[in-house]
């Protein structure tokens, strides 16, 4: 059965584990493996870190996550309302140099998910959205 859920919260790193676990729980409930769930958890964690560090300059700002399941694939769309992630936001397909600009986190998202892209502006307007998709079954 297809479903859609939106989570609304702020980018306080102390609650990131709750957000990650909530999304992994949804993926596991739809039949994904523990390892695939672990990969989704890291991908979501990197998206949350990016929002806190880059969009909000290490401060707390609003974040929304849309979870959409189409019966086979889970789409996670992480929206922030901060500044752009990079000048030309893309998901690197090869390992970038560790410059501290969030490039390696995006690379990991791209490797751990089946699809990943950065949208700027995001579907909800100004700010950045990271859209990532994982096939669960």
């Amino acid at each position: 059965m297809a479903w859609q859920v939106t989570l609304e919260f702020v980018t306080d790193p102390a609650v990131f584990h709750v957000i990650r676990k909530t999304i992994v729980a949804a993926a596991l409930a739809e039949g994904t493996s523990a390892d695939a769930g672990g990969e989704i958890e890291v991908a979501v964690g990197e998206a949350l870190s990016n929002a806190f560090i880059h969009a909000y300059d290490r401060s707390v700002g609003p974040l929304e996550i849309d979870l959409t399941f189409d019966g086979a694939r889970l789409t996670v769309l992480v929206h922030d309302h901060g500044k752009a992630l990079t000048d030309r936001p893309t998901v690197p397909s090869t390992l970038p140099a560790p410059t501290g600009r969030g490039g390696r986190g995006l690379f990991i998202i791209g490797q751990f998910m089946d699809e990943a892209e950065v949208l700027h502006p995001g579907p909800r307007g100004p700010g950045t959205a990271i859209r990532m998709v994982k096939r669960l079954r």
């Binding site: 584990h17 964690g45 560790p98």
Partner: protein, 127 residues
């Protein structure tokens, strides 16, 4: 009472120090890992990072392991990790951390590995 998400303990030996990392290493808890890694660097011994009870690890922790490797190598000390989960193992491979920090199955295996590497380092003529 809040349960700490990350609990690090240091097991000191004469030549090798084992750091047990229990729980989750993320943006919120990585500073706990960093402060323990700094103590290991100051001790200047071979280091085994035990990840057998590490349930989550992301890039927030990777950069501190990279820094620790760099600082330890300046003191001719090695950094190895044992028993990462399949997801952590894949993460370390993707960022090529496994090239500078060998991954082993058990702490016993890691101790043997360090002993062999240590005797190679101490061979005459090696400087």
């Amino acid at each position: 009472m809040a349960v700490p998400l990350l609990h690090c303990t240091i097991e000191e030996g004469p030549e090798v120090i084992v750091l047990h990392v229990r729980g989750e290493v993320d943006l919120a808890t990585a500073p706990i890992l960093r402060s323990h890694l700094q103590r290991l660097v100051e001790a200047g011994r071979q280091v085994i990072v035990d990840l057998s009870e590490t349930s989550y690890f992301d890039m927030s922790g990777v950069r501190f392991l990279e820094q620790t490797h760099q600082l330890l190598s300046e003191r001719r000390c090695l950094l190895v990790a044992v028993s990462p989960s399949p997801v952590v193992r894949r993460l370390f491979a993707l960022v090529e951390l496994d090239r500078i920090m060998p991954l082993l199955q058990t702490t016993e295996e890691a101790r043997e590995f360090l002993q062999r590497s240590n005797s190679r380092l101490r061979e005459p003529g090696d400087g």
